[in-house]
Structure formats: C-alpha cells, structure tokens
Symmetry: C2
Subunit: 563 residues, 2 copies
C-alpha cells in the first residue's frame, strides 16, 4: 500500500482542482507543510509580503480560476488575513484558508507558546474564523484528515465561500493512502427538487409569454456560480435587453447587440434607468443587492414582476423557493424559453457612448475623460481590476471587449484589496493563458495599504499594468465627508521610484497628466504588449470623481447620519 503525507494529500487535492499557486507567509507552525508543495508537480508556493495581501491574492486568483488557497500560521498569521477572508465570504469567492497550528500535544498541555494569547486557549482563533467561514475544521487526528479536506474543498468550490482548515504541525507528515486520490472530489450540485423546479419554471414561462417589455439583469453571482454560459444562451434565446450591475460587469458580452449598459438604480445613466424601470418583467440572475451595487437601494422597478435566480434559492416577486439552484433552473428553462418568448418583439437598447469631446493635447486629465477613454485600451481576454473608490465607480462608464474579466470588491469594499488581488489574478492568468493582460486601476490612497505586494509580482517576473490614479488622498472619503479634512490626506509618494525600489528586473514607469499623453500611450503598440511590469501614474484633480460616485457619496453620508 503506497502512502503519502497528509500535507501532500492536501496539495494533490488542490492540484486536482486546478489550484496551482498557493499564497501565504511562512511561519514556524506551517514550515514543514510548505515542504510538501514541492512534492506535487505543477504546484508553486508564491510567498507573499504579508498575510492580508495573501488573502487578497488568493481571492483574485479564485475569481479567475474558480478556487484559491492560502497558508498562514497560527494566531499572528491567520488573524492578519481575516479581512481578506471576510471579503471572500461577502462576495462569494471560493477559497481555503489553511492554518498551521501547534502540535496536538502542545495544545493538550495548554503550553504558553508564542503566537498564543498566553491563556492556554488554542481554539480562540478558530472560533473567530468560523464566523466568516462557510465550513471549518480544526483537525485533532490524522485519520479524519482526508475526508475533512475533501469536505472543505467541496464546500469552498460549490458554495463559492471561504473555508478554514486548522492543521496541527505534527499531523502534516502523517501517512495517508495514496489511492484515496483516485476518487475525485465530488463537485456536482445536488439535483433540485423536481416538482418545485417544474412549478417554478411553469410560472416564469407564463410570465415571459405575457411580457411585452422584459429585461434581463445580470449580477456578480452569475460569474461566481458559473452561469455565464446559461445567461448568454438566455439572451440569445429570448433577445431580451440585458443589463449588468456594477458587480456584474464582465458577466455578459458587452458587444452583444442586446447589451444595454450598467444599471445602478437612481445613479444609472437616464436611458438605462428608463429601460430597466419601465420593464414589465425583470429576470435577475445572480443578484447581490448591496448599497454601492444599487445606488443605495434605489432600484425602482415599476413592475412587480421580478424573477430572481440565485445559487441556493429562486424567487418570484415575494415567493421564495428555498434550495432551488439557478444553474439547473436556467438549463431547463433554456429548453423551453424560445417558444415562450417567440411573441416578443425586440425593442432598441441604450448604447454605451465612448466618445470624448475633442480637446487640445495639453488638456489636463479628469475622471470623466479617463473612464471614457480606457475602453480603447482594453482588448479581448483582458482582466480589468478596479479598486474601491473612483476606479470602481469610473469603470462602470467603460465598455469591456469580449471575454473580459472584471474584478472589483464592490460589496465588501476594503481599500487596498486590489493591490493584493492583482497578484493572484496575474498568476492565474499566466496559468490559463500567458498572453492575457492584467490591468489594475488603483488610487494613491488605496495603494498605500498593500503596496508591498507589487514586490511579489516583481519576484515572479509578472507583467501587469498598474495605473496609479494620483489625486492626492482618499477622494471617495472626501466626497462622503471632509472634503478638505486633514484626515483624508496622505503622505505623497514618488510613485515613479516604486518599481526600482522593489528591484523589478524589467519595468517601465510613466507619468501622464494630459489627454495627449494618454492618447499617445494607448496608441503605442509597444505599450500595448504586456512584456514588462508597468506603473503608470495618472495625475488627476483632488476633488474630481465620476458623477455616479459623487451621487453615491451623498446618499451614503445621508444614511450614516440618519437617526
């Protein structure tokens, strides 16, 4: 009987699920575990600059490849990662947080080890993580290891949520039967209750048949729970106009003639707002209705006919169908919807305008111009990452080419997130298709939280585009409260020295201040080829912001001060 270590078993399972980059920081309770990564051909240990960044990176990797993994050490390491884990929980991102914990014998003796609170409580950090994990396990023996690992990985993948594994240092080398790997982890969804599913589909088919002016609205969970294909087919089969939310951007081909733009409640472009709100049926796929995703809950469909498709339930108006999974529902619906929608006469859809008013070459940049312009730089297959703040709001104005992946943390909204997630995305892109370009837009304020992860990209010779929007501090906060307050200012950095400081091998650092400079840059074929790491400092006015952010900020300030 051939055996491997429990540590190797874990990484073999991850490899089977196409997780080939493992993020994290070494620490004395996980060092032996890290040795086992090298035992699995094709796996690599990335080694982050700190644990929060590692969590963000695992999240970014998962958004491209479907699952991510990070390894931290007991107490100090795992707690540093929690904000990133909670973000994955909020935004439906599947990942496993593997924590190297003290040996079982040390725990039993309640030793006053370093990295403990000094009170002999070894489960306190596990309890904290449980609050933001879909499933968790704190191993006590090696025998249960393989089944627990399989359970956690299945849950992380299926539910697209973080899971937690506490792995005692002494169990890492315990022998496990290699043949267990021959049975793949079951990643299939349980079938829906057929009767409930049939009832539900019957009802919506009737609504579709009756609708004169239906629309499809696609949100984040369409991507996260893998129904992009079904959604595409639904659009093709029905010809209904399709819109996305800010978090749904990238879920739908924006060059599809039926694509009408981004719907953000009262913050939408007027023609988009009109189109969605006058619909007599809304088919909402993978909705995540947070404030920043809806213009502070300002959705105002005049119709009461709303059908919601979610990963673990569906809904018609107020009626909930618990447990009904949208994937199967959509697949079944696709077989029948063509006939139901055949009476529908396609209406014209709003079109995204991408033309800036002509301006002299020396005109100073502003947000409005920039976000209209960037679409001309994007190309098929790009991964576009936008930081919370002006970037995440500005990108709504752009048009993505076919097969563009959009990454943004709109619901959780932790500033600095993209500084870590860009690393995960760029490594995932390298594994999926090395010609894929990864393009980050981050503000100068957010950059400061996680800047050291750019060093990790230098270490790995990655070649992302890093657009640093320099507007002299936290502009999103200024708009919400304290426009000129000292607390919204930051220490100004010499951004053009950053890549040199981090010792990048092949790099380029450029500052652009005018429309002419950006025009020239985007027109340069050399610049368009992602053959080196690039930092582009974009100089923007301090108080300038995309109009949707200005209006969102006013709504937020109001909510915060309401009694």
């Amino acid at each position: 009987m051939s055996t491997i270590t429990l540590g190797q078993y874990l990484f073999e399972r991850l490899h089977q699920l196409k997780v080939d980059s493992v993020f994290g920081v070494p620490g004395d309770f996980n060092l032996r575990l890290l040795d086992d990564i090298d035992e699995v051909p094709g796996m690599r240990w990335i080694g982050n600059a700190n644990e929060l960044n590692a969590a963000y990176a695992a999240d970014g990797y998962s958004r491209v490849k479907g699952l991510g993994a990070l390894v931290t050490t007991f107490g100090v390491g795992e707690l540093s990662a929690l904000n990133g884990i909670a973000g994955a929980y909020a935004e439906h991102v599947g990942l496993i947080h593997i924590v190297g914990v003290p040996a079982v014998s040390s725990q039993q003796k309640q030793l006053l080890l370093h990295h403990t609170l000094g009170n002999g409580d070894f489960s306190v950090f596990y309890r904290m993580s449980k609050e933001i994990s879909h499933a968790s396990s704190f191993l006590k023996d090696a025998a249960s290891g393989p089944s627990e690992i399989d359970r956690l990985l299945r849950d992380a993948y299926i539910y697209q949520k973080p899971v937690y594994l506490g792995l005692p240092a002494n169990l890492v080398t315990a022998p496990v039967e290699r043949s267990l790997l021959d049975t793949p982890i079951d990643l299939e969804l349980q079938p829906n209750n057929q009767e409930v599913e049939s009832d539900f589909i019957e009802d919506i088919l009737k609504m579709i048949k009756d609708a004169k002016n239906p629309v499809i609205l696609v949100d984040a969970c369409a991507t996260r729970h893998s129904v992009k294909l079904e959604t595409k087919q639904l659009i093709e089969a029905t010809k209904f106009p399709v819109f996305v939310t800010p978090m749904g951007k990238g879920a739908v081909d924006e060059n599809n003639p039926r694509f009408g733009g981004v719907y953000v409640g009262s913050l939408s472009n007027p023609d988009v707002g009109q189109a969605v709100e006058s619909a007599d049926l809304v088919l909402s796929v993978g909705g995540l209705l947070s404030d920043f995703n809806t213009g502070s809950f300002s959705y105002s469909y005049k119709t009461k006919n709303i059908v919601e498709f979610h990963s673990d339930y569906c809904k018609i108006r107020s009626a909930v169908y618990p447990g009904l999974q949208m994937k199967f529902v959509l697949q079944k619906l696709l077989k029948l919807v063509g006939a139901a929608a055949k009476g529908y006469t396609p209406v014209p859809v709003p079109s995204v305008k991408l033309i800036n008013t002509p301006a002299p070459q020396g005109t100073l940049l502003n947000q409005q111009w920039l976000w209209t312009k960037v679409s001309s730089f994007f190309r098929e297959g790009d991964i576009v990452i936008t930081e919370t703040g002006t970037s995440a709001f500005g990108i709504v104005q752009s048009r993505f080419p076919k097969n563009t992946t959009g990454i943004s943390q709109v619901l959780w909204g932790s500033i600095g997130y993209t500084g870590g997630s860009v690393l995960g995305a760029v490594l995932a892109a390298q594994e999926v298709d090395p010609t894929k370009r990864v393009i980050l837009f981050i503000g100068d304020g957010s950059l400061q939280l996680t800047v050291q992860e750019i060093s990790t990209m230098c270490k790995w010779g990655q070649t992302p585009y890093l657009f640093v929007l320099n507007n002299n501090g936290y502009t999103i906060e200024r708009l919400i409260h304290g426009m000129n307050a000292e607390y919204n200012a930051i220490q100004p950095w010499n951004h053009l020295d950053l890549l040199k400081f981090f010792n990048a091998k092949k790099s380029e650092s450029i500052r652009v201040s005018t429309t002419g400079e950006v025009d020239q840059l985007f027109a340069d074929p050399a610049f368009n080829k992602n053959d080196k790491i690039r930092l582009i400092e974009v100089m923007l006015p301090m108080q300038d912001a995309p109009i949707n952010l200005v209006r969102q900020a006013q709504l937020s300030e109001k909510t915060n001060s309401s009694a």
Copy 2:
C-alpha cells in the same frame, strides 16, 4: 447646561488620560467622528497607511505612555487590525479600539450595506473582537455612551488589555453634558483583601528571613502594570541579585550593581543560569512565562521556593492567592522587607561582558559582534525596539543605559509588529520628551510586512533610527525549518531608496558591511543626534544568528514535530 458631542466626549476622556495621538484609517462610518478630534486642543489624528499598522502603532504608543487608541471603520477596517489587538491582549498592552459602525437605523433595517457580509448580521465583527478584548461595548443609544466609554477606558488602563467600542455613525453627534468631564475616570485599583494580603506578606517575610541565596526575577508585567518603582525599591532594600527575562528587559536599571543579566532558562549565559537556578528563593515580579521568554519552558530552579507577584493574583510555590494585586503587596512589603533581609550577605552577581575580540576594520559583520557593539550606541532615555527574529534574541546580549525603554513582542511574536509600533513609540516619545531617541532593529523579511508605516513617520517629520538587518530572508524561520528553502527567501529591496520613495524631507540612508564602518558610525557625533530620519542597512550573513536563537529554534522544531 453646556453640551458637547459624544464623539468629543470620547476624545476629551482620552486626552485626560494623556492619550494625545489617535491612530487609524478613515472610513465612511468613522469620518464624522474624526472631525471631533480637532475639537480637543492637544489631540492629533495620525492617519496610518493601513489598519494593522495602526494597531501596532497604538500598541507601541501605549508601551511608552500607558494607553493607546485607534479608530477603524466597520468590517473591513476593524478586521485588518485584529492581529495587532490580539498582540496587545497577549502582551498586556492597554488600548481602546474604536470602530465606526453603521447608523442604528441601518442596523435595525438589516440593510445590505457595503462593508457587511451581505447577510444582515451587524454584530458578527463585534463577536469576533470580543474574543480578544478584555471588555467591549456595541452602543445602541447615546444615553449610555459616557458611562460605557468610562468603563472601557478604565478597564483598558487598569488591566492593560485591549477594549472594543462599536460607535454607530449617527450617535457621534448626540449631545452629552460637558460637566460629566469634571469627574475624572476612577483609575484606582480596588484595595486587596487585607487579611489575605497580611497572610501572604507574613509568609514571604519568613521565606526572605530564611533565604541564604535569594534572587529577584523581573518580567514584562512589572513594566506593564507599573511596579518598576516598587521593584527598584525592592532591589535597594534587599540587595538581592536581580535578573530580567527577555520580555522584562528595560524594567530594571542594568547599571545597578546588583543587576546580573538576562535569564532565559537553558538558553541563558552559563553564569546567569547558575546564579538563578542555585537560588533558594526566587521573587518573580510580573512573570509571563512563554516559550521564547523561558527557553522553551526550560526554567529549572532547584529551589521550590518561588514567590510570584502578578497584577491580579500572587502565588507561593503552588498556593494561589486569587485577586491579590502585586502593586499593593509590594508597597506593603517594602515597609517590612529591610528588616527581614538584614541578615542577607550579598553575593557577587554575573556581569554583562560587552567587549568584542579586536578585529581588522574590514571584517564583515556578524550578529555576535553587532549585538555586543550596539550597547555603545545606546544612551540614557533611549527607546529600543527589536523585531521578532534575530533582533529580539540579539538584544538580550546588550546592556541598556538607565531609563531605557525596551519594546519587543516576544510572546505574540508577529513579524512586522515593530514596523508599526516604532511609529507609535516615536510619537509618544515626542510628547514625553522630544530629545528621546527611538531606535528600531528590524530584519529585511519583517520589514516587508509593514513597510508603509515608515511613510507615516516621514509625514510627521519623525526622526527615528531604522536599522534594517539585511540577511536575505526569514533567518529565524530558516533556523527552525528549511534553511535553504525557497519559501524562506524574499524579494530583495533597494533599502537605500526607501526614504526617498516615501518622500522623506530630511533623511539619511547608509549601508554598513564591516565592523570598521559600524565603529566609525557610532563614533560620529552627528550620527548620534536624532535630527533626521535615518535608515541604516546592516549587511549580515544569511545563516548567521545570535546563539540563543539558534538553540531556541532547535527546541521549537522539536515541539512542532512531537506527536
């Protein structure tokens, strides 16, 4: 009746407790609160680069001034700080974590706000923080605000532990009677039970009278629970030899003729080990017996006569006296101990040797030489901060001048900690005595976790000495496991460009590789004056470490792999 806002009340109370610098990061649920800092003359908002660093900074500030404060925002901000809060919990550091949370009305409506998990649960982060807080409060109304704030601040101060305050955005501006400020927060300890105290003192006086060869052993909590003065008087009154633990370094004047060195169990210098372990009575003040503080629990007193003085209990051999607070016990003991100890004949104590074997000027640096040498650079009143790793172990070999403050996170041991805490310490030093020098020793690996906080020191024009020990990666981890493993390597940075990148106004960056260069630097009067921010890159061999660390690492590896 004159009123102020609840926010101002909070900062006025902090100001009364001499907390004049508030750390943190702005976020939309705390912006209005930050306005109130300016209402209190003498208070300043520091504004950190990220929240973990802010927590570390508040911890460093507290270790100098007795209490610290940080402000974060709901969810994203507060979770990022947790590792720093847990460290303060483990190491007995008093601070208040103030979290700006959504308005009460938003919570009641369970709005799907950004910075939430998207499930309407607004108390989840509060529950997580409770696990690592001595006391906590999640305000629901303004009326209870002042008394809750007073309770939390009292607890943080008295127990020297972190406390948590969740402050809804809409309550910040609620009116509070100004006259409440006229009654100071009661910071007095409750008196001890007099009968228990008398019994305890009677017993130890007898032990002291009988002892031929007693010693005093001083640990971290002597500093944290403010019995440094009583300890000093105890040494003077008894003439007993006194030793410190690694975490106790700085608690005792090392130039006192009765000071014998640092005791770390089996990792001690042989003469120190011999002196402590042959004692027939050990008076242990403020002990915190973690693995790294004791040479992996290798304390081996031959005597069974151990008396322990703690902040909330005392102990004679195995007998615990719950609730007995050492401060009062020591004060009472001091009145009687002189008579009891008058039969004691002082024995010679080990002396700290600080002479390096003479070497040619061009000799490359090593850890042994460096840690013997640094004592010559220290001067009275310095604050010396050493990062977990070679620095925290190496500093044990040095001698501190009078009134030196030592800061190191030996029990919690989170790498990167000092990168944040040095900021807190230097700002506190500025408030206490601007001529005080703050000296940091940090490894190149640890620096990467929290490097951006150096930018905050540049923003505030602070002038610390930053010694960056460049030994090409995580040497402490290499010694524990994986000496040449890729996972213990890091991206090499151009450290000499760091201060320029962060836009420091007045700075100096120097690299030293030889003993001659260090000799010259320390002998230079200009270098000794802290009139600018300085980064000194110290080049050291990759596998070189202080001998106590080498031996500790072997012990740790053994514990980790034991079944």
